[in-house]
Amino acid sequence: MSRKIERLINLTIALLATKRYLTKSEIFRSVDGYEGSAETKERMFERDKDDLRNLGVVIEVGSFDPVFEDEAGYRIKPERYALDLGEISGVQIALLSLAAEAWRGAALDDAAHSALTKLRSIGVESDLDGVPAIAPRLNAAHDDFLVITTAIAKRQRISFTYLSSNLERQSRIVEPFAIATKNSHWYVAGKDTEKSQIRTFRLDRIDGEITSMQVPGGYEIPEGFDVFQSLSNLENATVATIDIRKGKAQLLRNTALSIIDKGEWDQITVEYFNSQTLIDLVLWHGEDAFVIAPIELRTDVMTKLHEIVLLHV
């Protein structure tokens, strides 16, 4: 096993150090570890190339002279091998460390840790005094979190079973664009291939395994796509006017766009995208919150209250 590792390291060094493409025969002659028949060496080299590529090392194939059909050569360009984030300060390293630490015990813990090791290898001391003492945390998500992140990076489709609002089990095939987290919940958004529409799924509503599959030719992720913007489709936003009792209805008060003092009551306006979510929140506050406008929303609230009455008489 050590021999194989030595050979991979030596191959990386040789391909990184060369200023021109090295042919296979040059590699077999000069890089330590290629032994046996021509066929064996060939097989070894093919496997090694695949292995290095799996580690994310970019091996370029080219020839000395494009005019003549030369034997193909190989090299690793240092600028594609090495991490280059430009000029990095101690404060930046400290911020990146906070970002990595946020994963402790959560899904991307290992990746965050290895990223941090690379950042520490840049040789810039982390300036911890330059950042406030905060320790934000990301919580654990679905067991198959890594399947989703890999699929996004490799443009693979994912398939899973999703629980609908009435707990029906639905099969979904999605081209994932991005993941995001809010209120301790994780979401994946992407194109639902059957509906051909952008949809967002809450990871804890995915039932069972998530599997990924290759898409020939991949797919495009829209530049700058944002899960929460797609969730709160801004064009559909409506403003509601609600009366809330003084000192009460904190959850509604927190989201108020404006507040007018009306004595015993405050009149607030809030923006909403989904009327059912707002109705639920208004009813949570019982006799401390009343919808004034729009009239449709007010009527909906009254209809729901009727249903509650009918269920409980």
Partner: protein, 305 residues
């Protein structure tokens, strides 16, 4: 137990990352090095021994890497080719991008300077990764509150919190002697002794508005952990998924009349109202009539204004 990979490929990746780390941490102790890479010391010695055999073609002492670690301190020379850290993998970029967004959202508002620096890092990382989408992570609470609560738990210090109780819809100031942080139904709670109530209480972290450390007197008698619980039965009429999530019930066990418990009558009443007719309380009778009374009273007010 080490979680670092022992496969040839995993070890190769580790060795490639080991060289730049050593180059920037000359003379590091073997023990700290093993900890950084999450391997045992003997595994680290095995890794270093393998690395020793590597270098530029020719493989004479002039071309091989020059490592020394017998003394327990590790130095490396003649390793310029591998001395730069490797570029970040997709997974690593995703981890940092989500982490950075969380950091930006968690920084206090008066640190616009740091938010800008972090945002610039997001731009640089995205440009170098294969992820064109924005990866958002919104924290459940301000980072400053979290660090104080965590410190209180760690140092067993009292903490004064301004807390919004959603079921009683009140904001109160309380002094808590923390015991631990707990996760229930996907939310994080601070569990401890509330000095105001002289009883064990749990506080949802995202409902803590501010927190400061404070000295507390030791309580001589520990309150009992006996929780006051209300048993109740509900059934669903629609939106089963939201109902099961709201009432913290296992989605798998969804059927007919479901019996469960809550810490408060008030919470049950509010939750049933907030289910907008998707849920019916079957028992106890007093909560059922309470819900009915509340719904009728609200309706009356709508009708009269």
């Amino acid at each position: 137990m080490s979680r670092a990979p022992q496969t040839p490929l995993g070890r190769t990746a580790r060795l490639l990352d080991l060289v730049p780390y050593l180059a920037s941490h000359q003379g590091i102790e073997l023990l700290s090095l093993a900890q950084e890479f999450d391997v045992s010391q003997s595994q680290m010695v095995a890794d270093l021994t393998t690395l020793w055999m590597c270098g530029l073609p020719g493989y004479t002492p002039l071309e091989l890497m020059d490592l020394s670690f017998e003394s327990g301190f590790v130095t490396i020379h003649n390793a310029e080719t591998l001395a730069h850290p490797r570029t970040l993998s997709d997974e690593e970029s995703i981890a940092l991008l989500l982490g950075l967004d969380l950091v930006i959202e968690s920084l206090p508002n008066d640190r616009e300077d740091l938010k800008k620096i972090a945002l610039d890092l997001v731009t640089r990382l995205s440009a170098r990764s294969s992820i064109p989408a924005k990866l958002s992570a919104l924290p459940v609470m301000p980072g400053s509150v979290r660090s104080i609560v965590e410190r209180a738990v760690r140092e067993k210090s009292g903490v004064e919190i301004v807390y919004h109780s959603s079921y009683s819809d009140t904001i109160t100031k309380r002094i808590v002697v923390p015991i631990e942080l707990r996760v229930e139904n996907g939310s994080e709670y601070l569990w401890g002794i509330c000095q105001n109530a002289r009883a064990f209480r749990s506080f949802r972290l995202d409902r803590i508005q501010t927190a400061v450390l404070t000295a507390v007197q030791k309580i001589s008698t520990t309150p009992s952990e006996q929780k006051h619980e209300v048993a109740y039965t509900i059934c669903t009429h629609s939106r089963e998924r939201e109902v099961m999530e709201r009432f913290g019930l296992d989605r798998e066990s969804h059927r007919g009349a479901m019996e469960t418990t809550s810490f408060s009558h008030e919470w049950i009443r509010r939750s049933v109202l907030a289910s907008s007719g998707s849920v019916e309380v079957l028992s106890p009778a007093d909560i059922r009539s309470d819900v009915l009374r509340a719904a009728q009273s609200i309706l009356n007010r709508y009708a009269s204004t």
